[in-house]
Subunit: 322 residues, 2 copies
Amino acid sequence: MAAVVPSLELVDRVCAGEINAIARLLTRAEAGSAECRPALDEIYRRAGRAHVVGITGVPGSGKSTLVARLAREIRASGRKVAIVAIDPSSPFTGGSILGDRIRMNDLAGDPGIFVRSMATRGALGGLARGTLEAVDILDAAGFDMVIVETVGVGQDEVDIVRASHTTVVMSAPGLGDDIQAIKAGVLEIADIHVVSKCDRPDANKTLIDLKAMLIMGLALARVPGWKVPVLATSSARGEGVAELFDAIVRHRAALEAEGGIDMRRRMIAERRLLKAAEGIIADRFEQHRGGRIADLLGNVMGRQTSPYAAAVELLNEIGMED
Amino acid sequence: MAAVVPSLELVDRVCAGEINAIARLLTRAEAGSAECRPALDEIYRRAGRAHVVGITGVPGSGKSTLVARLAREIRASGRKVAIVAIDPSSPFTGGSILGDRIRMNDLAGDPGIFVRSMATRGALGGLARGTLEAVDILDAAGFDMVIVETVGVGQDEVDIVRASHTTVVMSAPGLGDDIQAIKAGVLEIADIHVVSKCDRPDANKTLIDLKAMLIMGLALARVPGWKVPVLATSSARGEGVAELFDAIVRHRAALEAEGGIDMRRRMIAERRLLKAAEGIIADRFEQHRGGRIADLLGNVMGRQTSPYAAAVELLNEIGMED
C-alpha cells in the first residue's frame, strides 16, 4: 500500500498544475479534513490571480449548458478555465443525489479545462467551506478563470456573489412568473444578467422586464463605471456566448480600472473570515457534543434557557480553548 | 411623545395575545435590537406549545394561495394560526422588494389569524435569527399553529426543517423538469409532499415521479411510524386543503406517539444554539470592525493570512470578551 502523501507536500504540485494533486487536495478540502488545513492556508497565500466568476439562476434556466459553452469560449481565448459545479445534496446523508459530472464529458481531454462537482453540505450552509477552498486550489493551480456554478435560488447566490469577482444571474422565459427573479432576491447581486432560451417567443418579455427593473433602480450600481448588461442567449441557436464572455472580461476590467476590485476583495475577505469563524464554532460544537453541550442542549430543549443565552455560555466555555 | 415601552414589559402582553404588543416585539426582533434580548429569552422560556409547520417549494408552485386556504381550514377547526411569510429581500439594502402582505388581506378581520411578512436578511443566512424568534413570539402569544412559509429552494429549506415540527414541500407540474425537486435537495426534508395545480393534465406525472422517488428510498424515513404522503391540491378546484390539514395534524400525532417529537426538538435546539452562536460572532465582528478586525482583514486581502487562520485569531482575541 502506498503511503498517504501529506497535504502540505501536495501544495507545490498543485501550484505546478498537476491534475492528480489538484484532485486529491480538492477531495480533502471537501471532506473538511483537519490534516489539510496548513496546506489550504498555504494555497490561499499563493492564490489570488484567477478571475472568479459566479453563475447562478433558477433551476431550469439552462446554466449547465451555458457554462459548458462559455468554458469553450474561454479556452478559445487562450485562457485556462476551471468549473466548480455545486450539486445540491441531501443535508441528511451528505451524499449527492444527482451528479452533474456526466454533462461536462464533452469538455474532457483538454488539460486547460478542469471540472469539479461538489456537494453543498447543507449542514454548514449553502456554499460550504470546501467550495471557497476549491476556488483557492484552482486559482493557485494556475487557472485563469474559475467559474462557480450553482443551482437553486436564495442564500447560496448571496454567498456566491460574496466570493466572486463577477456574478452572472440567469433568467429564462416560461419558468412561471418573471417576478420569480425578484422573489428569489437575486436580481441585485448580478453584475451581468443573462436571459437564456431566447429562441422562444416569450423571451422578449423576460428581457424587457429585466431591463425595466434595472432602469427602475432595483439593481444597485455596485461597481463604479459599470452598467449592468442584460444579455440574450440561445443554446438552440448557439447565440450569445461570445457576448457573455466579452461582458465578463469587460466587467473585470471595469473593476480594475475604477478601484472596484479592492472593494470586491474586501467584501470577499470579510465574508470568508466570518464563514471561517462560523465553521470553527460548528467544529467545536461537534467536538464537545457529548459533554457540556449536552447539558446546554437539554436546557434549551426544556425551555429553561434560550438558544441565545445558551450560545453565550457555549462561546464563553468552549469557544476559545484549543 | 410617548415613552418607548421596554421590551421586557411587552412580554406579559404578548403572552396575553395582545396584537399590538406582538407586532411591536416582532418588529424589534426583526431589527435585531439588543434591547429586546432579555424579552426574547423570556418569550422562549414561555413558548413551546405551538405546532410549527414549515411550508416550502419552488417559486411558482402556489405556496401563498395554499397557505391562505390552509389558514382558513385551521381556523375552521377552532385553532388559532399565525403565518410568518419570508420575503427574500436584497442582501444589500436589507429592504424587501416585494411584500406579500397584500395577498393575505382576505384573511384580515379574524383575530385568530395573524400574518407577518419578514425579510430574509441575507447577510445572516436564509432564515435570519428574527424568523426563529418570530416563531417563539407567536407561539408564546397562544397561536396553536405557526406556519413558516418561504419562497426559494436550497439552504433556506434546510433551515426551515430544522426549526419546524412538520415540513411540507410543494412541487408543481410544468415548472420545467420534475427533477428540479431533487436538484434543489429538498425532497428528503419533507414530512408531507404536496403537488399543486392538480387540475393540470401534466400533474399526474409529477405525482407519479414523486411517489416513485419515495419508493426508491430517496426520502429518508425520518419519523418512526410516519409514511410520507404525497397529496394533490388544486387551487382552481379548491381541492386538497382539508387533506393537507389532516396530514399535518396526523404528522404531529405520529411525532408525539412514537417519541419522534423529542428527536425533532433536539434537532431544533441544536440548530438554534449553533445559529445563535454564529449570530453572536457576527455581531462581535461588526462591533470590532474598526479595530483589530481591520488589521486581520488587511492580511486576508493581502493574502498574508488565510481566512481560517485569521478566524482563529479573531475568535481568540475578541470572541469571548463581553
